[in-house]
Symmetry: C2
Subunit: 327 residues, 2 copies
């Protein structure tokens, strides 16, 4: 029964909602297990125009990670990268606060050219993914501009100014997603969230406030997730109350939100059917009507990424069976 279900499940789509580096690790594991059955819906609100080029940090992190071109030591960007462009740019007085590697630059230049030529981010992402030999399907959540603005006590900062130039140092009072209300859910995202053939939806362990919220800010995505008729499973980005990387914990403190399994569950309330937390983080009771499963969530190598992906899929399949039995 269990095995039959898994075989059946393996033929259906899994849709993962994903931000940058942390989420991409799970996407990598999911791709190892699912191959072309994995569809990743990507946050585009970190995108910005830099040096006249359209830079899509989260999309590119996924392209490099799923294409196995990423630098695992540095944790971002491409492996075997060189920095001669940046050095020469500094020499002529150009802006050097945002590091663009020589290889990475090809993606920004080519994307900018193709966007100016009338192609969509969706088309360009699919084409680059094909060139990188990526099995999974990558779906920018929207082809329209949407931009994260971080509101600090002193000023409003465009996301990369906050994240890279200021290294997440200013306190976060609030986060806003400019142009979100006008952004249209990309056609590809609508399609892959259709109930037919959909196994489950996974919310990757990305920053809920900076990576997942801007996805959910695109009108229609929440509704599409609810209407999809498949279990929605989130993976908590916290381990023992800390983020593995990035400012999730710091932002929660600044926003006055306790960094616990319960608050992560509360953040996704009404959206998720289950929450995966780290093995040590299983609460006695989180007071919410969702299932919680504790498994090791720290992803340090291919094996731990694949194992977490398998745990997430098994958990989602169990939730689906429970829902079937409940009907």
């Amino acid at each position: 029964m269990n095995e039959a279900n898994q075989i059946c499940g393996a033929e259906r789509r899994v849709v993962a909602l994903c931000g940058g580096v942390g989420g991409a690790k799970l996407a990598f594991g999911l791709q190892k297990v699912l191959g072309s059955k994995l569809h990743v819906v990507i946050n585009m609100a970190d995108d910005f125009e830099h040096l006249g080029l359209h830079v899509s940090p989260d999309l590119d992190t996924l392209l490099y990670t799923l294409g196995e071109l990423n630098d695992r030591q540095r944790g971002w960007g491409r492996a075997g990268e060189s920095w001669n462009f940046m050095e020469a740019l500094g020499q002529i007085g150009g802006e050097t606060w945002f590091a663009l590697g020589d290889r990475d630059l090809a993606l920004h230049v080519e994307r900018t050219r193709r966007l100016a030529n009338g192609e969509s981010l969706t088309q360009i992402a699919a084409d680059v993914a094909k060139h990188f030999g990526i099995a999974a399907h990558l779906w920018p959540v929207t082809d329209d501009p949407i931009r994260t603005i971080v509101i600090t006590p002193e000023e409003e900062l465009a996301f990369q100014r906050y994240f890279v130039a200021r290294r997440c140092e200013p306190a976060v009072r609030a986060i806003r997603f400019d142009c979100a209300e006008k952004a249209r859910l990309a056609k590809g995202v609508e399609d892959v969230l259709q109930p037919e053939g959909l196994r489950m939806i996974v919310i990757c362990p990305s920053n809920p406030f900076l990576s997942i919220d801007p996805l959910l800010a695109v009108p229609g995505l929440r509704e599409a997730l609810r209407a999809a008729g498949a279990p929605v499973v989130a993976v908590s980005p916290l381990i023992a109350g800390q983020a593995v990387k990035g400012p999730t914990r710091k932002i929660m403190d600044e926003l006055g939100i306790q960094a616990t399994t319960a608050t992560i569950a509360a953040h996704y309330q009404g959206l998720i059917d289950g929450l995966i937390v780290d093995a040590g983080d299983l609460p006695d009771g989180i007071g919410l009507d969702i299932s919680v499963q504790a498994v090791p969530t720290l992803m340090t190598d291919d094996e731990s990424k694949t194992r977490l992906a398998q745990d997430v899929l098994a958990f989602g399949d169990r939730l689906a069976r429970k829902a079937d039995e409940g009907r």
Copy 2:
């Protein structure tokens, strides 16, 4: 008298008209002798939009050559260049027929950004020259678009398509400078060609048809050269009927022009007062009312570049004295 004239001359401006690599060698020698008294007026008709970037090949050759950043072995581009951008661009299916080095790219990206921001090519060139520590002044002949089109038996080719993609292989039937009639001489060029304080004008040994003609196609430049009241000295790009580099000889053959000192002189007729030819190329009589001086014109190292520069300056000064005496 001679020495006094030279000292006096050294305080005045020299304006050099210049195309790419060959001309830049003489400009390098002239800068060694003249420092900030050298003003170089640069062909901009090789410029083109590539990958969404504004590329200015002749201007950049001068920036790298006069900034001593050029690759002397390869003969073009920057020393210590790397090509990781191109490799990554090829990997995603981008256009790779025009090689842009990682360091070189900084100039194209930054120039494109600044142009979009409303700055002129003149402003950007001056600013980059300052960052490169260049003593000479670089003046794009115009800030307006002007584009060389090479007409072959089969088709019309944008210059870089002819020069780089097709490696000058198609026969040249004619050459046209699109938008030349609407281009305005840059203000800086007008200023440096004012008679006050002008020592002489040098036409560098660039390709007369592809590098100097598009300069002269900008309305007002010919008139400004004639009105400048200073000797105009051209350096022939031919040595024993051959070009040192590039398609000058091939194009002359295709256009049905004999590759001789006399035809070069004829090409510049009405514009120049004197012609420098290679030591072996002094004709018995060229049948034209200009002075001809034969000196070694092959520039292989710093010494030969500087020596040719000194020979050109001495020749120009002699022509000036002759003109003074003739008055």
